[in-house]
């Protein structure tokens, strides 16, 4: 299993100008790595629907590359979305799934069939143009450049180490620096969308 920070550090040099959004416990680390915060957007807010919103963004901005760092627990809550995405075939959409095999934010309970489920196989079966599994950082590092140059929708499922949260919600460190509305406004300003 990979450290999610290593995943982000390996991805970052290959980002280009992609718009990036993330979900889940591990996704919070992206803001510490990103060097283009105006092109980072928060689209969470309803269980499993960051994926839907990122899909909508990809449809609405066909000339921009859209990268989603999804979480497997989140994706499972809205799994039909992979068929919806495949049906519209957004060439500009790269869909990472950071798979820690559990609901880290609620204490680490396993997601259904956590060790055996194959998200990349499901995405390929749904109609994504390509799908990959990684459980080794070097393999990921040698593949990411080619993946970022592929036509989407592409799924990249990566096994990561869980960061299990056990503190009561009110005692946890808040890491959000900008609200969802602020990220939306910043991205629109960056893209010149009124």
């Amino acid at each position: 299993m990979l450290d999610p920070i290593d995943v982000f550090n390996t991805f970052a040099p290959h980002r280009g100008n992609a718009i990036v959004t993330s979900a889940g416990t591990a996704g919070r680390h992206w803001q510490d790595v990103s060097d283009q915060p105006a092109r980072d957007i928060a689209l969470g807010g309803a269980m499993g629907h960051t994926t839907s919103a990122a899909f909508g963004l990809a449809l609405g901005l066909p000339d921009e590359k859209i990268v989603l760092f999804d979480a497997e627990g989140s994706l499972l809550m809205n799994l039909g979305v992979i068929a919806s995405i495949a049906g519209k075939r957004p060439k500009n959409f790269i869909h990472f799934v950071l798979d820690n095999e559990c609901y880290a934010t609620t204490g680490g309970q396993p997601v259904p069939n956590s060790a055996e489920i194959d998200y990349a196989a499901m995405a390929k079966g749904a109609g994504y143009t390509a799908a990959y599994n990684f459980d080794d950082l070097e393999d990921f590092a040698t593949s990411i450049e080619d993946i970022m140059n592929e036509d989407g929708p592409v799924m990249v499922s990566i096994k990561i180490q869980p960061e299990v949260q056990n503190l009561p919600i009110g005692l946890r460190e808040r890491r959000v620096t900008r609200s969802r509305a602020e990220t939306i406004n910043d991205l629109r300003a960056e893209l010149g969308i009124s």
Partner: protein, 172 residues
């Protein structure tokens, strides 16, 4: 004796209202009575139809499209709307953007009582979420659709158009 054609809500009326209000995308799951509307929408070169797998996806996809400067509409049935409660809350209401949701009002009758609980709970559901709605039954109600768009734009909130006749006129 010439039998008068019953008043109906024509699918063309919906599509005309969409065009008038600058709609760019329809995110939808077809319901049992909307096939002709679906085909009509596919024929419009200014409109992109986005089929999804579950109704709750529609509000999230709409948020992404709105961020991109597009004008999305969610077109689903009341049963799916109720399934979508958390998405309506977190994606539509909390995001604060203008969104018209066109909802097929399965089970609705003009005389009020219905054996279909999909209808029984539709308006209480919308009232619980404090979402305003406009009922349309036939072509003469078409202006209400534009009123819904205007209210959504003015308030940056979701507004619902309840389609009481599901485009065919059989509910009378």
């Amino acid at each position: 004796m010439v039998q008068q054609q019953p008043q109906i809500l024509r699918p063309e009326t919906l599509v005309e209202e969409f065009k008038k209000n600058g709609v760019t995308h329809i995110i939808t799951i077809p319901d049992s009575e909307t096939n002709y509307l679906y085909e009509l929408m596919l024929e419009q070169d200014w409109l992109d139809v986005v089929p999804v797998s579950r109704e709750g996806e529609t509000m999230g996809v709409a948020l992404g499209l709105n961020v991109a400067g597009k004008v999305p509409v969610c077109l689903i049935q009341n049963t799916g709307m109720m399934e979508s409660g958390d998405s309506i809350r977190g994606m539509a209401l909390d995001s604060g953007f203008p969104l018209v949701m066109v909802i097929g009002y399965r089970g609705w009758t003009r005389w009020g009582n219905t054996p279909d609980t999909a209808a029984t709970y539709t308006e209480p559901f919308l009232n619980a979420f404090r979402i305003n709605y406009y009922l349309v039954e036939h072509d003469e109600d078409g202006d209400r659709i534009s009123e819904a768009f205007a209210e959504a734009r003015d308030t940056n909130r979701p507004v619902v158009v309840l389609v009481g006749d599901e485009y065919h006129g059989f509910n009378r």
